[in-house]
């Protein structure tokens, strides 16, 4: 499954993106890493050009809830129906915010991962692969 990996519009961090690219590639998925400071326009353009099977959004600068919401709305607004997940340090408080998380899910995120929850990301990828395999058999 081709994965489009992206930072958020106001987030310039990249170690999270370097790490995730290595991790996702080791799990067998080709990764296109858009890098940091990705606007909605750049993200939807890349989605149209690359036709990925999954978008992974990573943010660690404390603006992730707000910027993630803009990113997923841009994708859904442009008509993309592919799975979109987000994770990282999404707020400034250092703890997950259930209300902000719900807003992300309502806006069309398929999963919101807490900082460091690599196992949940792996499990999500496994479930996507299983669903794809089931569709292929059906």
């Amino acid at each position: 499954m081709n994965i489009l990996l992206t930072g958020t519009a106001s987030d310039s961090h990249t170690w999270n993106l370097v790490y995730l690219q290595l991790l996702l590639e080791e799990l067998g998925h080709p990764v296109r890493n858009l890098g940091p400071c990705v606007t909605g326009e750049l993200l939807t353009g890349a989605c149209a050009a690359e036709e990925p099977g999954l978008v992974v959004i990573s943010s660690v600068n404390g603006h992730g809830y707000r910027d993630g919401l803009s990113a997923v709305r841009a994708l859904r607004g442009a008509g993309f129906t592919l799975p979109v997940v987000i994770g990282g340090k999404l707020g400034v408080a250092g703890t997950a915010d259930p209300e902000q998380r719900r807003r992300l899910l309502d806006a069309g995120c398929d999963a919101v991962f807490d900082d460091g929850d690599v196992n949940a990301l792996r499990a999500f990828l496994t479930s996507l692969d299983a669903a794809a395999a089931a569709r292929a058999v059906a």
Binding site: A9, S10, D11, S12, H13, T14, W15, N16, L17, V18, Y19, L20, L22, L23, E26, N33, G35, P36, C37, V38, L42, V56, I57, S58, S59, V60, N61, G62, H63, R66, I86, G87, G88, K89, V92, A93, G94, F113, D114, D115, G116, D117, V118, A120, L121
Partner: protein, 475 residues
């Protein structure tokens, strides 16, 4: 709550700019009296909280300068988002200096900013014009960044555009600051991605940016270096930076060296974090840096509070006071870091008279090549690793004028395995683990956890337990 409805702090608006020494002169005077200047990273969207942070920094038991760290919407030039966040009441991760009015910022600074307490604006922008105009309008004269260091690690701005922006903004700063004061610029080149960049390249980039500032009209500069993995290599780097500054900067340009306490994954234990901070203070004094920008014990988890910042400043100052100043040999030896840095600097200067153009060419040809940097204008052919003794080394150097590490004895290294996600985490977390382990399994401390909007505009790498996460900062 909006900027317009916020009362300025209880002081008269539009004070005259403070008399007396500017940023560089303040640091020079402190150094002459044997004091290390310590500085926080601190920025809040709320002017009252920002003011309180400056006041507490000023009253800390330490020789301090103040910081206004700018939020990341302002950094990327999205002033509409900064304004919207203020209107919504969404906490910003820094002070939106171009959104709040100059009057508000002058009021915020009045009675705090003075000859004994300069304030620097820290931001991280490759398009800093609005920030430079706003800081000058607010009566400030010191900031930091650079055409390379605020471009490659921090976003998508083409390097050519960042070089042009920074050339213009150096000249703008030199023009806008009244003649009675001396504008000061600090290169952020000693940090780059914060981790895993061998020191020779950090030293070279910081020096080259300092030279770039001078060529564009700035007469007071600081060169930076971020603490890395090995104290001896770090000391070589700070000394190399001082020596190269003497060799390459015009003699009448005011300069000093600023050390950043470790910018990578921070220890999780309070004791480990404190020991790392103390090590950086010792390094600063013993290697001859004049200023230190601290980190706090809260760093690994979240944005520190004002109180945590003050504790870090006072801890660093107390350690510095107990550290002997450097004993300099009359004829300094050419350290490994010095030789590498000098090779980079000379290779860039050979690319032409126009330093901005030379920097662009250097990156285009991979003569300078920052390891693990995702920016499209970085060649991306260099790789680095931490050797068994803890020193940062090159494993691949691409087109750079330095060689991959060969251990003593002359045998070339075994072919380097490509970096894995686990290997990357291990390398990124090495310093944190060492200091946490040395802390003798002290209980994990949880400092008071009042959430605050963000200080710090520098690079924050993945945490040791990283998934999509990492240390948070507005960069």
């Amino acid at each position: 709550m909006t900027a317009a409805t916020l009362a300025a702090p209880n002081v008269a608006p539009l004070p005259v700019p403070p008399p007396g020494p500017s940023f560089g002169a303040f640091v020079a005077a402190a150094a002459a009296s044997g004091q290390l200047v310590v500085q926080p990273r601190m920025g809040f969207g709320d002017p009252r909280r920002m003011r309180a942070g400056l006041e507490r920094t000023k009253s800390a038991v330490a020789t301090t300068v103040g910081t206004l760290t700018i939020d990341s919407y302002t950094r990327v030039g999205d002033h509409a988002a900064a304004r919207a966040a203020l209107t919504e009441g969404t906490p910003l991760n820094g002070y939106p200096i171009a959104t709040h009015s100059a009057e508000l910022t002058r009021g915020l600074l009045a009675g705090v900013l003075d000859a004994g307490f300069p304030v620097q604006v820290r931001h991280g922008s490759s398009r800093p014009e609005a920030i430079v105009r706003a800081l000058a309008a607010a009566g400030l004269d010191a900031t930091e960044g650079g055409p390379v260091s605020y471009c490659l690690p921090y976003g998508r701005t083409p390097l050519a555009e960042s070089v042009d922006n920074w050339a213009r903004c150096c000249e703008l700063l030199a023009t806008l600051v009244p003649a009675a004061r001396v504008p000061h610029l600090e290169s952020f080149g000693g940090c780059m991605l914060g981790q895993l960049c061998p020191p020779g390249l950090l030293v070279a980039i910081s020096l080259l940016e300092g030279m770039f500032f001078v060529r564009h009209g700035i007469r007071s500069v600081s060169l930076s270096y971020a603490q890395q993995t090995d104290p001896a290599q770090d000391a070589e780097a700070v000394r190399a930076l001082r020596r190269l500054a003497g060799e390459f900067l015009p003699p009448d340009v005011d300069r000093h060296v600023v050390l950043y306490t470790y910018m990578g994954v921070f220890p999780h234990t309070g004791r480990g974090a404190t020991r790392l901070l103390e090590a950086s203070a010792r390094l600063a004094v013993s290697a001859g840096a004049q200023r230190l920008i601290v980190k706090t014990a809260a760093e690994a988890r979240r944005i520190p509070t004002v109180l945590e910042n003050v504790r870090a400043l006072e801890t660093a100052a107390a350690t510095a006071a107990l550290t002997a100043p450097p004993r300099e040999p009359a004829q300094p030896a050419d350290s490994e870091v010095y030789r590498e840095a000098r090779a980079f600097v000379e290779a860039v200067l050979e690319l032409g008279e126009d330093l901005g153009r030379a920097l662009r060419t250097a990156f285009a040809r991979g003569v300078l090549d920052v390891p693990y940097c995702l920016h499209p204008d970085n060649a991306g052919r260099s790789r680095s690793f931490v050797d068994a003794a803890g020193r940062l080394r090159w494993s691949q150097t691409g087109a750079m004028p330095v060689a991959p590490y060969a251990p003593p004895g002359g045998r070339a290294m075994a072919p380097v395995r490509s970096m894995t996600s686990d290997g990357l985490l291990a390398a990124l977390g090495r310093v944190a683990r060492r200091y946490d382990d040395a802390a003798d399994s002290a209980p994990r401390t949880e400092p008071e956890t009042e959430p605050e909007p963000e200080p710090e505009s520098e690079t924050g790498p993945a945490t040791a337990a990283a998934g999509p996460g990492g240390a948070r900062s507005p960069a």
